[in-house]
Symmetry: C2
Subunit: 433 residues, 2 copies
């Protein structure tokens, strides 16, 4: 059966999360979790849903970029796309005119992610699958190896995937039974009071969480007080991670984090500019003696940057993002490079829809690439799942594998309708206040 | 006198350059040189003009981004902005919601450049100046040192500028008399025939040009033939540079350029991904024994990337861009870092308006920063200057310093009107064909 794509629609969907400081950090004080939400329709009635995550203002720019890409998608069939998915990826990312405003970064790459996420969703729905089904050859055929062959060749990628065929079924069964380990960021956003933080920790501990992330970087004394508080709450054996959201310069990062070493954070996340590979390498080197590692990636904009972070030993945890990189295609490249460099992947999630999407990627990583759970966990934030038709399911602080065919990226029609910006009811009410 | 900004207008202006293959290279086969063109108006009638360069499709996305930034500009006075220009720069680049879709890269950063270029133009017009007037303290107050203090501190920047006060007047006089050395890219675009290339070289030699750049990277045998042809045309003593516009992976770049070594190119420009700092470092190291150096920068998206290119010895020529970096503010940071690392700056120009704008930056570099012309030259492309009210002036293959107050960024109203996309007459005719 051929699925011809006859329409691509995109919507600016925003949730007023800033009203309650959900998601607030040292650099994003008032995020309104948002998405450029894409629906592609085929001539046989099947649809694919995709999105990229944004934090409010500027979503309309990404929507505009999706509209600019639509012409490259509409009129193609799904079968045509997947028969040369690498070529289709490059068609979108290397358009001779549009690549100038990227290339493969910022708005145009976020838009590419939204569009391609919808294509992957369509593909999975058309095949009635949830992921992991594709064979190694088909998987590598989706990856654009341009600019990364000095770190990973197509043959090396294929070898990794072939090797991981062993034990695949057991790992799949294990995941269906136990789920994939997660950590929570919901307890300690920057804008939360100490009281709120304590209550949320108590609740999370009762729900079986053992790994906690808190936001730091605005004020050192505050950070010390809050780190002490959360370490007291969670005890010495649970895991604490800290996240500065790019707040510091290199020297400042080293000095600041050294002051927090007594609270034994596993990692410092985004200590400085997401573009600063050599800076992260310097920070990694300076903090290693303190037992603190460096994590980054949620704003690492493409596989070329991740390649260098790995080559330079600039990170010890790879935080892929399902919507910042060019969809599954580019995430596959990064998962395979991370495996080659033996650096664990701990995906970025939260926002809106990121948990839903990235769970597929990390399950794929375990089942088909790394075969390893050591030092690995996936972020979880308990917000906005109710807007999805197949929300992520957490049991005992683990992601339970999704059951519905697709990429879990479909939002409820009513949610989209109400949160459309600025004409949805939620925004009409807020903007008229 | 206070100049309050009361309006910001932005226009999508496109020139159908692809019709004649002007500007074609290995990655951009059919560029239509374009601009998101910004006009800011003040309550006292003075205007500032700014732009960012694009190559056709996607310009509408940058226009959308400029509109999103407008709210941060309109209502402010010029005096308020320049009294804390660093703060204003950060207001635009670090908006808590919009930074997510950058930060400081791609569409949103191109838009920032267009807006800030207009502010600099307004400032120069308000003071009746052409540049170089500002004192060292005021200059450093325009620079956001965030993320670069490990390479250049504010004090170091100030010291460089203070030191260059010596001999400033002589260099200014020299520039007014002789101009700043330029090279031409107009002879050897990828899409030009050998016959066209020969004719253009002959013309250029007759006009006094001694430095020539040609496009390579699509086909090795073609490149060898064309390199041989151009070297024959220009003779052994003139300078040849080659430009691959990101066509290769790292190993491929080294192998391909080695084959062209016999034609003695001074540099290979953009051999690989503009994001690949470590790749450029490897290429630099491999080509050094052949006497070929590496140039890059036109798509280097911010000061953090340039910092690393310098730290890693990944380039031997810094090619700043007046519209890719965050206007004069960020270019100042890069000029100062380049000086500290003792790497010559040879700006990217061409496109539409880039020559007009960047001549100010390179004159500033010589007069106020580097005090050195050794191994330095500014790109020149002989297209589309007729659309500007103060077009760049070339005499004896040198840029003659601009004489009109401002940033030379004002386009003719009639040009803007006719080339507006898609409603201008030029496009109405082309699109109805």
């Amino acid at each position: 059966m051929v699925h011809k794509i006859i329409k691509l629609a995109v919507t600016d969907v925003r949730f007023p999360t800033s009203l309650e400081q959900h998601g607030s950090d040292a650099m994003h004080r008032d995020p309104d979790y948002s998405a450029a939400y894409v629906v592609i329709s085929t001539d046989v009635g099947l649809r694919g849903y995709g999105l990229t995550f944004t934090v409010g203002r500027g979503t309309e720019i990404v929507v505009c970029a999706v509209e600019a890409l639509a012409g490259l998608v509409v009129g193609k069939s799904l079968e045509e796309i997947i028969s040369d998915f690498r070529g289709f990826y490059r068609l979108l990312t290397s358009d001779g005119q549009m690549r100038w405003i990227g290339p493969e970064k910022g708005v145009i790459h976020l838009a590419t992610a939204a569009v391609l996420n919808a294509v992957w969703d369509l593909w999975a729905r058309a095949e009635g699958k949830v992921g992991c089904g594709a064979d190694p050859k088909q998987i590598v055929s989706c990856i654009d190896f341009r600019y990364i062959t000095d770190a990973l060749t197509e043959q090396e990628a294929l070898d990794i995937l072939m090797k991981a065929q062993e034990g695949k079924q057991q790992r799949e069964d294990q995941m269906l039974k136990e789920g994939y380990p997660a950590y929570t960021t919901s307890c300690a956003w920057m804008g939360y009071s100490d009281q709120q933080l304590k209550q949320l920790c108590t609740d999370a501990l009762n729900n079986g969480w053992t790994k906690f992330k808190m936001k730091v970087g605005a004020d050192l004394e505050d950070d010390i007080r809050r780190c002490r508080l959360i370490r007291q709450m969670i005890g010495p054996d649970n895991t604490l991670m800290i996240d500065a959201n790019q707040r510091w310069d290199v020297g400042e990062a080293i000095a600041w984090v050294s002051r927090l070493a007594e609270f034994r954070p596993l990692w410092i996340e985004e200590p400085t500019s997401p573009d600063d590979i050599l800076g992260h390498a310097a920070i990694s080197k300076a903090l290693a003696p303190l037992g603190i590692r460096v994590a980054t990636g949620e704003q690492c904009h493409n596989r070329v940057m991740f390649k260098q972070f790995l080559q330079a030993s600039a990170l010890q945890f790879v935080q892929i993002d399902s919507c910042r990189l060019g969809s599954v295609n580019e995430n596959l490249a990064v998962l395979l490079m991370a495996h080659k460099f033996q650096v664990p992947v701990c995906p970025h999630a939260g926002g809106v829809g990121l948990c839903e999407l990235v769970q597929h990627l990390i399950l794929f990583d375990y089942i088909c690439v790394s075969a390893d759970l050591n030092n690995r966990m996936c972020e979880y934030v308990d917000h906005l799942h109710e807007h999805f038709t197949s929300p992520a399911v957490i049991r005992n602080a683990c992601y339970m594998p999704p059951k519905d065919p697709g990429y879990s990226s479909e939002m409820l029609e009513s949610s989209v309708h109400t949160h459309q910006y600025p004409e949805g009811d939620v925004w009409k009410t807020l903007l008229n206040k």
